[in-house]
């Protein structure tokens, strides 16, 4: 203290004494009160009588009296609910001095400061947790701030069907769902978005299961917002007792997925257009082939008064029908429809006096007539076209018989190509039920009865059975196509006839 002027020391004492309450006690070596002064009661000390030992009540002296050191300091001592005091102990030669300084107000201020410091520390820790998003946190309010940056709105379901928004909400949602901008407001997204209303049924299952591992996504849906389309998706999950619903604006991910799907589907559509075009072109080519074949066949057959354009057309249709019921594919069935009419094309090589002879042929004439399958076979030989190959088989085989008694090669059974076995049946059937210059027609049932006589000898028995099962449809063809292209073909035939007539010496 000597370093300070007395005036300064006095001032310090004045300020200190005014702002703090003091008391002092003087005791002897045995703890008996010698003297006391100051604001004893303000320091929480009882009133002692001089000579009275204070050691039993002044517990703070325990261990300090008798004093082994010149000075001791007890910081912020509080007895029960009493005031907080700093205690200074020092001794001189006669007694021990105890100075009590009330620190209650200081401690209250310090406590408040400490409280503030702790609050700041807690706030700091909370902020750190929000950033890290630890799974150990339990308050959903502290978890969802970052959803703003994801264009996602987090909602917690209440028991009354409303939802509580978990802060904050992005500007996109404020525009799309203005009610969500008000933080305290109970929200009903199911009323705003019919899609969400529907989704909440599925969400409820997840929430009721109470399994935090389960979550369900709604799939995308599109809302119209001021003329613009906004793609959204809803996600429901259960998490630490909270029934949570997230609404997410999909933006780029939606557009990306949409463009992938679009590409895939446009590819499918393009393939389909191309396939249709190929089919259409194939049909046109096939139709041209068929027309050319029929016209040529008609021209060849025009020399045979027994054949007509309608006959060859019907033959193709009967054959196609059988092929379809045998399970042939469409292309093969179409081929036999076109090839069957060529069965007698070899007659082009038979002289007129035999071909057009009105009466019965002599044995030698018939031998010549029997050459027409081989002539037709030669005309159609050496082709790599399946259609022409089938036509050749039919030309060569349609007079063969199941039992091997036919001509030209006496083939039997399945050695006769199936196309020829089919045409053998329908050729005879159509000839029997239609009138020719040399014979009258007979009723269909009678024709079938006659043909049954040749079952297993003339005709393939299984094919004949199938043919008979198809009798009704065969009959329809027989009458519906009595002259379908016959007019055109007959015209072509008459033109050919005219050409024949004009040719001298023919």
């Amino acid at each position: 203290m000597s370093a300070y002027p007395e005036t300064v020391v006095d001032k310090i004492l004045q300020v200190t004494l005014q702002s703090n309450k003091f008391a002092y006690l003087a005791i002897d070596e045995k703890g008996r009160l010698v003297s006391q002064g100051g604001e004893i009661s303000a320091t929480g000390m009882p009133q002692w009588e001089p000579g009275q030992s204070i050691l039993d009540e002044a517990l703070f002296l325990s261990g300090y009296v008798p004093m082994s050191r010149d000075y001791e300091f007890i910081d912020a001592y509080q007895a029960g609910d009493g005031p907080i005091v700093d205690i200074h102990l020092f001794r001189d030669q006669e007694q021990i001095w105890i100075i009590l300084v009330d620190k209650t107000s200081d401690m209250e201020w310090e406590s408040a400061a400490r409280q503030k410091a702790n609050e700041l520390r807690l706030l700091q820790q909370q902020t750190q947790r929000q950033t890290v998003t630890s799974d150990q946190d339990t308050d959903p309010h502290t978890q969802f701030d970052f959803f703003e940056s994801l264009n996602m709105m987090a909602l917690r379901a209440n028991d009354d069907g409303s939802f509580e928004r978990l802060e904050p909400v992005s500007d996109r949602f404020k525009c799309l769902y203005p009610e969500s901008a008000e933080s305290a407001r109970a929200l009903y997204p199911q009323r705003k978005f019919p899609f969400v209303e529907n989704f909440l049924v599925d969400a409820a299952e997840v929430w009721e299961a109470g399994d935090s591992e389960r979550r369900i996504r709604s799939g995308p849906w599109v809302e119209t917002d001021g003329g613009c389309e906004v793609a959204l998706e809803a996600i429901a999950l259960y998490w630490k007792g909270n029934r949570l619903l997230f609404l997410e604006v999909l933006d780029e991910s939606y557009r990306l997925n949409q463009s992938f799907l679009q590409m895939g589907r446009e590819g499918v559509l393009l393939n389909r257009v191309l396939e249709d075009e190929v089919r259409k072109q194939t049909r046109e080519i096939r139709a041209r082939e068929e027309e050319i074949a029929l016209r040529l066949v008609c021209a060849a057959d025009s020399r045979d008064d027994g054949e007509t354009g309608s006959h060859i057309r019907r033959l193709g249709l009967y054959s196609e029908l059988i092929a379809q019921h045998l399970g042939w594919n469409d292309a093969d069935a179409e081929e036999i429809r076109i090839a069957a009419p060529m069965h007698d094309i070899g007659k082009i090589g038979i002289p007129d006096h035999i071909l057009k002879k009105p009466g019965q042929l002599t044995e030698s004439e018939f031998e010549i007539m029997k050459l027409h399958p081989e002539i037709g076979g030669r005309i159609l030989s050496n082709s790599e076209t399946p259609l022409v190959q089938m036509a050749r088989d039919i030309c060569l085989g349609h007079h063969e018989k199941w039992d091997g008694s036919g001509y030209p090669h006496g083939l039997a059974g399945e050695k006769i190509p199936i196309s020829a076995r089919i045409v053998a049946i329908v050729d005879v059937f159509d000839a029997l039920i239609h009138k020719r210059v040399y014979k009258n027609e007979i009723p269909i049932d009678q024709a079938i009865a006659l043909m049954l006589e040749g079952r297993g000898s003339h005709f393939d028995p299984k094919l004949l059975d199938l043919f008979i099962r198809l009798k009704e449809k065969m009959t329809e063809i027989a009458f519906d196509y009595s002259n379908p292209i016959g007019d055109d073909l007959s015209k072509a035939a008459s033109i050919i006839d005219d050409i024949h007539l004009l040719r001298p010496g023919d």
Binding site: P194, N198, F199, V222, E233, Q262, R265
Partner: protein, 174 residues
């Protein structure tokens, strides 16, 4: 379903069909009176609303335009929940889209029962390219189907189709 407050009858109606048959175009034509030549595939669900007056009654259609069914996407059954009716859409130029309609109708019936449905055969403006023949459609009509041939492009029969469905829904509701 009727809103007691407004007296308006609200009906959720699902648009169902194969992809690229014109479901979205029909909704756009019906609700907004617009048509785009550009095919824009739908991913997920688009929801639109249309108010109309029929027989002196107010109706609100909530139209769920569902992504078309194909190898890439199947219609989620949960989307059909609560449907009061269905608009089944086929593309007249693609016969196979009619087969998908039957599958989707079964799916709808399975989810919500036999609610009123109509069959729209769209793209009547391209009738020359149709691969669904009239006999097949007649057979469907004979079998009790409500078949309407429409064009979202030139708007023919679009409003009428939805009004037919609205009439059936109202009749069922009253």
């Amino acid at each position: 379903m009727s809103d007691a407050g407004t007296g308006m009858s609200k009906f959720k109606v699902c648009m169902l069909g194969a992809f690229a048959v014109g479901k979205t175009s029909l909704v756009q034509r019906y609700v907004h009176s617009i048509f785009s030549e550009r095919y824009q595939t739908t991913l997920g669900v688009k929801i639109d609303k249309k108010n109309l007056q029929l027989e002196g009654r107010s109706i609100e259609f909530i139209l769920w335009d569902l992504a078309g069914e194909d190898d890439f996407i199947n219609v989620r059954s949960s989307y059909l929940r609560g449907s009061a009716g269905g608009v089944l859409v086929a593309d007249g130029t693609r016969a196979e889209t009619l087969d998908i309609v039957f599958e989707l109708r079964d799916k709808l019936y399975h989810e919500v029962g036999e609610v009123p449905v109509i069959l729209i055969v769209n793209k009547s403006d391209l009738r020359d390219n149709w691969t669904i023949d009239s006999q097949r459609l007649e057979a469907l009509r004979d079998a009790g189907w409500q078949v309407i041939e429409t064009s979202a492009r030139d708007s023919s029969n679009v409003d009428q189709a939805f009004e037919i469905l609205a009439g059936r829904l109202l009749a069922l509701a009253s």
